[in-house]
Amino acid sequence: MKPAPFAYHDPRSLEDALDLLAEHAEQGKILAGGQSLLPLLNLRLAYPEHLIDINRVADLSGVRRRDGVLRIGATTRQSTLERSPLIAEGWPLLSEAIRYVAHPPIRNRGTVGGSVAHADPTAELPVAFTALGAKAHVASKRGRRVIDLADFFITHLTTALAEDELLVELEVPPLAPGTGHCFTEFARRHGDFALGGVATLVTVDPEGACSRAVIVLLGAGPTPVRAEQAEAELIGPQIDSKRAASAARLAAELVEAGEGSEVSKTYRKKLIGSLTRQAIETAAARSREESAAAIGQTPAPRES
């Protein structure tokens, strides 16, 4: 099938894009990477009357670090994120998560902002950015605002963006020293939509005690799910398998999705519980490496 007819606009400036968005808010759709939108158009599951192509809008893409804070332009290609040494060094959770997103040809067009704004319940980037405590910078003709990602996802395919608002940038704080990460998911075939997944961050102090933990579940519900009780379980002395397992059990209790979908809720609970336990152990091991590296970075002067 082919898309239904639409009027096509390709603004060159953010101002023009926002004008168009304000004018066509109701019957318009933003076209960024198009890797989620074009399938909907081709299958005629969506037929907006206006398409606002933002790929040629200046200064909307790019990966920058300013004062330790990561700033990613909304139309940055997912493959750019994947190849970024800056991100691999400072925010490796993103580098790990991005490799699970579909396949390279999809990542060559798909955008970082697009994935977040589309808010598919099984998307990887919303979960990873939520775990990192990211903020969404959003613009409209009415002005700009910043939305914490914890408040950004309302339900499946629905975000806090108003009809006339455009996501322009994601801001990500630096990771504390001694923080280990793990992103993992399970899909039937590599690149398929995930049946379940998790993003984990574990921070340890120089003695190895866990001072902070973040666990965000993928596929547990219509939005990324923060497993706060599971996180609290991990705070304390060095994480061992027993605590990882009990935290994972607490996380699994939050899994609601499954009724009427391709796998049952029981399956999802077991899957996400299992993945969470693995992720906690991996993140904990990495956090100990990070902590050791942080100490090792200030070597004592050598006697010659």
Binding site: M1, K2, P3, A4, P5, F6, A7, Y8, D10, L31, G34, Q35, L38, P39, L41, N42, L43, L51, D53, N55, S79, A102, H103, P104, P105, I106, N108, R109, R189, H190, G191
Partner: protein, 172 residues
């Protein structure tokens, strides 16, 4: 809906047409440019049969509007044999032929354009990396084993040629 005039360079040649914005790049390539090597399978991005290269990067041509490719460079499967002597195949094509990596051939152009960048790698990718590179293209005929073999064969040949090349420069 208003038509737009677009110019798209495909395999080094510029094709111009008045098109509806909703015309997919895959259809522009097949109907406006007459290059039917690019195939359309699922038309929603999952099968990979329509894969072409846009400014060197493999993409799904069914998920790009032709108007979005205006002024860009596209490379399709037909571009693989450009500049080669009559009858000679691109190393990937030759390898697919030798390992019987195709039967009906419907998925093959998509595999070739998606895999070509892999041949630029300096080091031999691991088996896992090769499998990952294949993961975005579906094949109903072969069961993938021979396609995997084709990729390894092509990689080995290209890499050994590259390793041999400096010796041919010959110093004094």
């Amino acid at each position: 809906m208003e038509k737009r005039r677009v110019e798209i360079e495909i395999n080094g040649e510029v094709y111009t047409a008045e098109v509806e914005p909703r015309l997919l790049l895959s259809d522009f390539i097949r109907y406006e440019a007459g290059l039917t090597g690019t195939h359309v399978g699922c038309e929603h991005g999952v099968c990979g049969a329509c894969t072409v290269q846009l400014d060197g990067d493999p993409i799904r041509s069914c998920l790009l509007l032709a108007v979005q490719a205006a002024g860009r460079q596209v490379r399709t499967v037909e571009g693989l044999t450009q500049g080669l002597p009559e009858g000679e195949l691109h190393p990937l094509q030759q390898a697919f032929h030798e390992t019987h990596g195709l039967q009906c051939g419907y998925c093959t152009p998509g595999f070739l354009t998606a895999l070509e960048p892999l041949l630029l790698r300096e080091q031999m990718p691991s088996d896992e990396e090769i499998r990952e590179a294949l993961a975005g293209n579906l094949c109903r005929c072969t069961g993938y084993q021979n396609i995997f073999k084709a990729v390894k064969l092509a990689l080995r040949r290209v890499q050994s040629e590259r390793a041999a090349a400096p010796l041919q420069e010959g110093g004094d």
